[in-house]
């Protein structure tokens, strides 16, 4: 099974996005990929006792890459959904994300709740659970999907769409970015929906799944999980938020 392969190979290949601060993103100075999810992957690798190899994948390719065996685990903003749970296995939740909608501040009067965007075009990252959620929850919406979050953001700024559906944290960063540009953005208060995120593992790879869950359980117990969270989401970061979840099983 995969766990044996990983041990033989001596490396754990972890798929991350690389375009999603602070989960995984490129440090411009070192051109290395770093972030919350990268740290978690590191912990898993340490737990198994192998080296970590980070592989950047696009949002749409997360599940195919995993199923095709090009990566061992996926820690890439992977929201839990019943459909997906049929395709792959999920580890304990490593994050819980409200999915919200980013709009242009100039439209703030028009769009107050997600439902106001019915009949509009909204951008999302292709293959993301936000895309599916938008389609499911906003009536008559047209989704325009992009390969990565920044381009979906750009589409909103360039008025190509009226809203951008994504996880709150990601949107928060873009909102801040927009403050230095002519087109300022705001996030709708009301979340479209909330979803837990987890590490994805190929179906049936129970040994590897157990290793991951053990790692997470250990992190939770030792308080190290909290620390890693603090490092990326703490007070001195741009992404200050409270940790309202535990590394524990996702209840579907």
């Amino acid at each position: 099974d995969v766990l044996d392969t990983v041990k033989d190979r001596g490396t754990l290949v972890c798929g991350t996005l690389g375009t999603s601060e602070p989960f995984s993103f490129q440090d411009p100075a070192t051109r290395k990929v770093v972030g919350y999810e990268v740290d978690l992957c590191q912990k898993i690798a340490d737990h198994i006792g192998v080296k970590l190899e980070i592989k950047m994948i696009s949002v749409a390719a997360r599940i195919p890459e995993l199923v095709a065996g090009r990566v061992d685990v996926v820690a890439a903003n992977l929201g839990w959904s019943p459909d997906r749970a049929k395709q792959i296995d999920y580890s304990y939740a490593d994050y819980v994300s409200p999915q919200k909608i980013l709009i242009r501040r100039s439209d703030a009067d028009k769009f107050k709740t997600p439902a106001d965007l019915s009949g509009q075009r909204v951008s999302a990252v292709s293959g993301s659970s936000s895309e599916a959620g938008a389609k499911r929850l906003i009536p008559d919406v047209t989704t325009v999907t992009f390969k990565d979050p920044p381009t979906a953001f750009l589409a909103l700024q360039q008025q190509k769409v009226s809203g951008f559906v994504g996880s709150e944290l990601m949107l928060l960063k873009f909102k801040q970015q927009s403050e230095s540009t002519p087109v300022k953005l705001d996030i709708l208060d009301k979340a479209l929906f909330t979803e837990p995120w987890g590490v994805g593992i190929r179906k049936g790879e129970t040994a590897l799944l157990k290793q991951v869950n053990d790692t997470f359980a250990g992190l939770e117990a030792s308080g190290e999980g909290e620390k890693i969270f603090e490092k990326w989401f703490g007070k001195d970061t741009d992404f200050y938020s409270k940790r309202e979840f535990k590394l524990e099983e996702i209840k579907g």
């Binding site: 690389g18 950047m56 696009s58 390969k147 381009t151």
Partner: protein, 232 residues
């Protein structure tokens, strides 16, 4: 634009290397080069099939060429992306996927180039070889192909330029080539898409302009040596 270049030239040139796979411009050229080199043998085989009088060779080769001409490269990339790992039962890197797709795609185009190169040779060359007692294959190898390949070098080099451009599709499956690097920069800067993609366009432009110059150079050289050969 200049400050974007000076801040990110390394990423454009080699991608994340050495912290990751080789990327950027170097990967673009490397992908194009390796695909085209690998495509050449297949192209030759296909060309031989296309000129063969045996139906068993002619029809499969022709069908392959038509299929490739009829499908967008991106379809090949998707097929390779999802099915090469299944077929060989082993994970495959994005670069490899891209090379597999490009080899498929380019083989067909190269085969058409080589075929026309072969058909441009006087029929007497094949007859002369066969009359000496050489077999069809021997004649092809020693007489026809050396001439046809030599004469088609410029067209094959032009195909290299096309291939360089086609590697940009690697972006779609996150192969770390030049376009991908530019997209990364765009994602970091966020508000300078015109500058970033303009810079990207200029990079390709310069690279291919240099290559075009090279093709012209080789072309004149070959034209000159052809005159030498045709004097008699």
């Amino acid at each position: 634009m200049l400050d974007i270049l000076s801040n990110n030239w390394l990423l454009l040139l080699v991608g994340q290397y050495p912290n990751g796979d080789m990327g950027g411009l170097v990967a673009t050229v490397g992908l194009a080069l390796s695909s085209l080199l690998l495509a050449c043998p297949f192209g030759i085989l296909l060309a031989l099939g296309r000129i063969s009088s045996h139906k068993v060779f002619y029809y499969p080769a022709t069908v392959i060429v038509y299929i490739v001409r009829g499908l967008p490269l991106i379809m090949f990339i998707f097929w390779a992306y999802f099915f090469v790992p299944i077929v060989i039962n082993r994970p495959v890197a994005g670069g490899t996927t891209m090379v597999v797709a490009l080899v498929f795609y380019e083989s067909a185009y190269i085969s058409e180039i080589i075929r026309s190169g072969i058909q441009a040779l006087p029929a007497g060359q094949l007859e002369a070889g066969r009359s000496l007692g050489l077999s069809y294959i021997q004649t092809m190898r020693k007489v026809i192909l050396p001439q046809a390949l030599f004469n088609t070098i410029p067209s094959i080099l032009s195909q290299f330029i096309s291939t360089v451009k086609e590697t940009s599709l690697g972006f779609v499956i996150s192969v770390h080539e030049l376009t991908f690097a530019a997209a990364q920069i765009n994602n970091m800067l966020l508000t300078k898409p015109f500058e970033v993609f303009g810079l990207l366009a200029l990079t390709y432009f310069t690279l291919n302009l240099i290559l075009t110059g090279l093709v012209k150079l080789v072309e004149t050289r070959i034209a000159n040596s052809r005159i030498l050969a045709a004097q008699g």
